[in-house]
């Protein structure tokens, strides 16, 4: 199907009078913004990787991120909390796709319902991250302070915590902006703005941003918690 549009369309698409990429201007610019944002995140993560490769030792993530809310102190549950955070973000991404899809069908109620679920997912993720930051801060970790030892129990550098808080913080800020954007989309939908325009293309653009936030988390999760 996509190949049909791709092979048959070019002569018409580049004939002038319409977008040669067959998307609306705002959506194209959202794609280019996300591409530049991908390079920003990529630069952060690659700097982290470079530091890690340049160090003789590095903390074991399973020893650092082993706590769970309401669990007794000293509990050893690595990867559990962060996998819950990952699934929250995946599910909120799914509800966002469903909202975009409902928008294409001009189904206002389904858009509202799925946007609310997406916003709740975003807030749940931010709450988890707030808990984790608070917990690590109580353990003495912050920018410029690393209480953890390397995996081979040698002295660890502050690069570990600096990168962790900078990168998860930058990602958390993106999630926060995404939640704000989605709340604005929800208000606009409830005010029938899109019904009057006759299309829900704005929801698609917000959706692209939200999926990008999920995409970045895939990389952050892998680089900081798994490997």
């Amino acid at each position: 199907m996509s190949t049909v549009t791709a092979t048959a369309a070019p002569t018409n698409l580049w004939g002038g009078g319409k977008s040669p990429f067959n998307v609306e201007y705002g959506k194209l610019m959202m794609w280019y913004f996300l591409m530049s944002d991908a390079f920003t995140f990529g630069a952060f993560l690659i700097a982290y990787g470079t530091s890690r490769f340049a160090s003789n030792g590095w903390p074991n993530p399973n020893e650092v991120f082993k706590s769970f809310p309401f669990a007794p102190e000293g509990v050893h549950a690595p990867l559990v909390f962060v996998s819950i955070m990952t699934f929250i973000l995946i599910i909120s991404s799914v509800t966002m796709v469903l909202a975009v899809h409902a928008g294409k069908q001009m189904d206002k109620n389904a858009v509202v319902r799925n946007l609310i679920l997406t916003i709740l997912g975003g807030i749940a993720f931010l709450s988890c991250q707030a808990w984790e930051w608070n917990h690590l801060h109580n353990e003495g970790a912050w920018w410029g302070a690393n209480p953890f030892l390397n995996a081979d129990s040698t002295q660890s550098s502050q690069a570990f915590t600096n990168f962790f808080f900078t990168i998860t913080g930058f990602h958390g800020f993106h999630v926060f902006s995404g939640v704000i954007i989605n709340i604005i989309m929800l208000i606009m939908t409830l005010m029938d703005k899109f019904e009057k325009r006759g299309h829900y293309l704005m929801i698609e653009k917000a959706g692209l941003y939200w999926h990008f936030v999920d995409l970045v988390w895939v990389f952050v999760f892998t680089c900081f918690y798994l490997i």
Partner: protein, 139 residues
């Protein structure tokens, strides 16, 4: 515009079915990643650890493909649009290779020419005294 939308979503059910299929794939990939993550704990064989880490990175790229291709709908866009997004991202291949190589080389040079520093990074410390020292430096 409306023509393409019709062509791509000619039938409502198949689009929703695709969303749930991709959700299933993403969840499955995440679960496999987590299984590898748990399997790696306490593993001492460095070569095997490295192989598992490589596998996790491949799974990560697969997840990225499904999110960008299906959730962000890039796979169903016009080919020229796909190319303007994906081709610049190919810079990452150089970006990652060059910088990780650089980091590794820096560590090797430092270890070779600064034996004092190298010996320092090999001193084992006890967690308790370490925490105390960090606290005093923070204050």
């Amino acid at each position: 515009m409306s023509h393409t939308a019709d062509a791509l979503h000619h039938d409502d059910g198949s689009a929703v079915k695709e969303i749930w299929k991709v959700t299933g794939i993403l969840s499955l990939l995440t679960i496999v990643e987590l299984v590898f993550g748990f399997a790696m704990m306490g593993m001492t064989n460095e070569a095997l650890r490295l192989a598992i880490k490589g596998t996790i990175v491949i799974l990560m790229i697969a997840k990225a493909f499904y999110i960008v291709g299906y959730f962000m709908h890039l796979k169903h866009e016009v080919k020229n649009l796909i190319m303007t997004i994906v081709v610049p991202l190919a810079l990452f291949v150089w970006f990652i290779t060059a910088f990780l190589y650089e980091g590794n080389s820096y560590r090797n040079l430092k270890n070779r020419y600064d034996p004092y520093k190298k010996a320092q990074t090999e001193i084992k410390v006890h967690k308790n005294e370490e925490v105390k020292e960090i606290k005093t430096t923070v204050e």
